[in-house]
């Protein structure tokens, strides 16, 4: 496995998250798995929406990016790239992941996963964990993942 590291970014302004997502959008490729962790209202969907819009925008495309809470998964096609936006909160067992086809998507698509604790043992080894932390007046984004990906991201929000 690649060496892993942790980097923390200040995302006190909503735009910080947007910019970070836009920057990360230029680094993703099939097989990139981004796990979005944090409480309700901490900014997970906002991040995913910004990344998807940015990726579509590269090709002059635009699509509505609704919350996947009700539909569990929303998929988007940006040229050759498929993007999966999933919200696993409503899942009850790991078996159901098979029905969703997530395991295949981990290899063939970019996956953005909210409530990834439901994945259990299926978390891809090289997944990028983004933890949205909210306290008093500060918001922080704690990123843990492969060293090479984090190196590329360093300085993203500044």
């Amino acid at each position: 496995m690649n060496s892993r590291a942790t980097v923390t970014f200040d995302i006190s302004q909503l735009e910080d998250t947007t910019k970070f997502a836009e920057r990360l959008a230029t680094r993703v490729s099939p097989g990139t798995c981004i796990l979005l962790e944090g409480d309700l209202g901490s900014g997970k969907t906002h991040f995913a929406r910004a990344l998807i819009h940015s990726k579509l925008d590269e090709l002059g495309l635009w699509e509505d990016v609704p919350s996947p809470t009700f539909t569990l998964v929303q998929t988007y096609v940006a040229g050759d790239l498929e993007i999966w936006h999933a919200d696993l909160y409503r899942l009850q067992s790991v078996d159901e992941l098979e029905e969703l086809g997530l395991e295949d998507a981990f290899e063939s698509a970019v996956t953005l996963i909210e409530w990834p604790d439901r994945l259990g043992p299926l978390v891809p080894d090289d997944a990028l964990h983004l933890r949205f932390e909210l306290s008093d007046d500060t918001r922080r984004l704690v990123c843990t993942g492969p060293q090479h990906l984090l190196d590329l991201l360093a300085g993203s929000t500044k």
Partner: protein
């Protein structure tokens, strides 16, 4: 009855599995919705039906029951209408597969229907409303204003740019430790609360246009809750009620103010029978309903709220769309391919704050 067309409707685009039989003269002969309420409350969230197989099993049962309650057989049916999207793709696919099977076996025409059109045309099924009318579709997964000009003509005036209000109700209920679904439990908790205890934001309230945002409101509730917890070590029942009441009041203010703007735009078209119709589970909220009723009476616009079982997901509305489309000679979605997203008005909406805009006509 031989002369009047009868359509079988099938709906399985989200958590509910439904089948219904509806006549062209607006009679609902049966409307079966497989009830999952018990599962919902046991889990503390809405249980999604992920497995297409499980959906299919329930669908068979729902169709059988719909036909027998309507006292008809497939021989009496003139067409089958099925939801082809938008929604949970596994559910949509199993509905479409079943409908294709039935249509092939019986030789009946099959009509692929947009779930949102089902909601949008419901006021014509229940109240025979004339076009064009204004529609506020406000549910767990959707929130938009539409001018409904015809069975296949919709003009989207605006909608949520993030979460749908129904989703915000569910998630705020989760934050406050209230049961699911969140709409009813927040409404009950709010009854004993002070709606001015917390000054929650009304995002985009004074912004031009009819776009809305509910995600920031949810975050504001989270912050207030956490502030109370760190101060007192927990939240009391009173805090819970006050948070619920203040949240509900913010949602209502937003929906009412944006409805006012939408009505103004709609009235410019000089409709013959000016009306605001609502659909979706959130329309059942007493405060939201009262706010909209008050607004429409002030603006001399009729307020139409179909009965709750026809406001939430059902198959009668899908069968009704089948009738409306057949009347104008529209074949429905062609070819019939299930779609997870299927906007009613495909024009690109103007984007707030990003400097990007422009509807491609």
């Amino acid at each position: 009855m031989k002369d009047i067309e009868i359509i079988l409707g099938i709906e399985s685009s989200c958590d509910d599995t439904a089948a219904a039989v509806v006549t062209a003269d607006r009679r609902i002969l049966s409307s079966i919705v497989a009830d999952q309420t018990m599962l919902h409350s046991a889990f503390g969230g809405v249980v999604p039906e992920i497995a297409a197989r499980a959906h299919a099993e329930k669908l068979d049962f729902a169709v059988e029951q719909a036909l027998s309650e309507a006292d008809v057989t497939l021989k009496d049916i003139h067409a089958i209408a099925v939801t082809a999207g938008p929604g949970l793709i596994g559910g949509v696919m199993s509905g479409v597969m079943l409908a294709k099977g039935l249509a092939t076996g019986s030789g009946l025409p099959l009509i692929g229907v947009n779930h949102l059109v089902g909601h949008a045309l419901t006021p014509r099924l229940t109240d025979d409303l004339a076009f064009p009318y204004l529609m506020l579709l406000v549910s767990g997964g959707h929130c938009q204003f539409l001018i409904v000009n015809g069975p296949d003509q919709f003009e989207r005036l605006g909608g949520t740019i993030d979460d749908a209000p129904g989703e915000a109700f569910d998630k705020v209920a989760r934050l406050l430790g209230l049961s699911q679904p969140g709409g009813p439990s927040i409404e009950i908790a709010a009854q004993s609360g002070n709606d001015k205890a917390f000054a929650f934001p009304r995002p985009l309230l004074n912004r031009d246009g009819m776009d809305m945002s509910f995600s920031g409101l949810k975050t504001a509730v989270l912050r207030s809750r956490d502030a109370i917890i760190s101060e007192k070590g927990g939240i009391s029942l009173k805090d819970q009620s006050d948070l619920a009441a203040s949240f509900q009041s913010a949602v209502t203010d937003l929906l009412v103010e944006k409805s006012r703007r939408a009505i103004q735009v709609y009235l410019e078209q000089s409709p013959v029978q000016p009306a605001l119709a609502v659909a979706g589970g959130v329309a059942a909220n007493t405060l939201v309903r009262a706010g909209l009723k008050d607004l429409t009476s002030k603006m001399s616009v009729e307020f139409i709220a179909p009965p709750l079982p026809l406001c939430t997901d059902n198959a009668a509305m899908i069968a009704w769309v089948g009738h409306e489309l057949r009347r104008i000679g529209h074949p429905g979605m062609t070819p019939l391919v299930p779609r997870p997203r299927w906007p009613l008005d495909p024009r690109r909406p103007s984007m707030l704050g990003s400097g990007k805009k422009g509807a491609k006509a």
